[in-house]
Subunit: 205 residues, 3 copies
């Protein structure tokens, strides 16, 4: 079980590293920009979670995570060399998969450490969103989480589903919570679901 | 006394959450953008303070703070719906009140933990300024603290006043320190007080 | 030996504070903007390193570092008043010297705390690069580390040299590692060495 969570976590790290690499590619960055964006996206959110929960930072004693990031970034670069362009949505989809993984893994880590339910949901959201937020700030993009279709809302829903179900079956909760996040996010991208936007001088509502 | 500090702290969190909500509104963000900016402003500075002082992060074990943020953001949104526009200065004033609260509360927390005086002043300033700095970076504004009228200087003065007086009367020191910060900041906004600006090729001085 | 490391560390802090001051000057910031940029550059990277390694943050219990920053910033400002302009490269060179110091000091701190080699190299790089990254994000510049000539790569090489040699002679390793970083970085600035840049629709390669 432990070992299962461990590899699940590595999968999330790899997918987010790919999303960082894709953005660095879009922004014409060099090899190190790739590593910084891939790393910030992949371990930024989890690092902030572990610091706030006062747990040991997950990658500081286990360098395997860094190897995963480097491997994912290098493979992505080779794959990009083989293709002429990247499809508009590739970055969004890689991002969505990473978000789904990290939402449930982040909430699960807080839950294992016996934090209250709303903190677990918050930590799932922070783990999933803050890595991408750092990536976007560094690349001088508007953070995806602040301007695009339903993003963090899907994390809040997915993490809540996980926390509610975890009492019954932790493993099943992980799958259903992650799947909820992923499907909601993909649907939000596909049909451009938005939360109501608040505007000055708004006439509507 | 303890309980008094606790509610004082909640007041500061609420006021900063309002200032984050107002900026999100200005920038036409959606409901989650509101929560992120409100949350980053309200607990960003204190989180950094607690991490650096190696104290438990104040909201991680007490979800009440998160409820305060959500309540303040929601009420602000309803209030904004009732009005056609927000006055230019509303955001500045909400921010000034939050700054006054957090300057003394941040310095007080470091002082209680027996840190040296200059570290207490620094922590008051970090608690008051870094939340708003994160808010502005995320909203892609020039951080208020870096470009506007006397800002952090007022925190340094207010926190110093607090630290000096705290030896005599902690509670009175809290009020005088906070009031000093607030009045200095409001005066700086009103009469546009500036520190000297350093310029390349400057002829003046 | 201990005391030697201590002053070595202060030198790095002072040089990075100068680089922050120069950028604030370029951006026409006021006195507090100078202190924020100087401080963020000088202790930002080391703070993140200490938080991740779960060591006490180096300046929280020793205010001397803050005095060093203030002194370096004030002296730089007086020096700038005496001259009409700053040479284009002054900021780059101050930055390069700071990077060389912090690369080896950061790696050394992780090595003393018995972390694995790749984590030590990563921490050297984080200590050297993240302060400048925060400086550039706050000043709304493209982070130097992401867009310019060989930057973090020189940290990775320098920190690796240090970690490899430290087993034989810690002090010599410190000098050789730092010198490697500095010379590589200066050469990169002089001859504009770049890592290959990844571009969409690239025809070459």
């Amino acid at each position: 079980m432990e070992i299962f969570f461990y590899w699940f976590d590595h999968l999330g790290v790899a997918v987010f590293a790919i999303s960082g690499t894709l953005l660095a590619f879009r922004k014409n960055m060099d090899g190190f920009g790739v590593i910084v964006l891939a790393g910030a996206t992949a371990i930024g959110g989890g690092t902030i979670r572990d610091l706030i929960l006062d747990l040991p930072v997950f990658w500081a004693h286990d360098p395997t995570y860094l190897y995963t990031i480097i491997a994912a970034a290098v493979l992505t670069i080779f794959w990009l060399r083989l293709r002429d362009y990247i499809h508009q949505k590739t970055l969004l989809i890689a991002d969505a998969i990473g978000v789904a993984f990290f939402t449930v893994m982040g909430a699960q880590k807080a839950l294992m450490a016996d934090f209250p339910a709303i903190i677990c949901v918050t930590m799932g959201t922070i783990t999933a969103c803050f890595g991408g937020m750092i990536r976007d700030v560094l690349a001088r993009d508007v953070p995806m989480v602040l301007k695009s279709e339903l993003y963090a809302t899907t994390c809040i829903v997915g993490a809540s589903v996980y926390v509610l179900l975890a009492a019954f079956n932790p493993l099943l909760a992980l799958f259903i919570g992650g799947l909820t996040t992923l499907l909601l996010r993909l649907a939000a991208i596909r049909w451009q679901w938005h939360l109501p936007v608040f505007q000055e001088h708004s006439d509507s509502r």
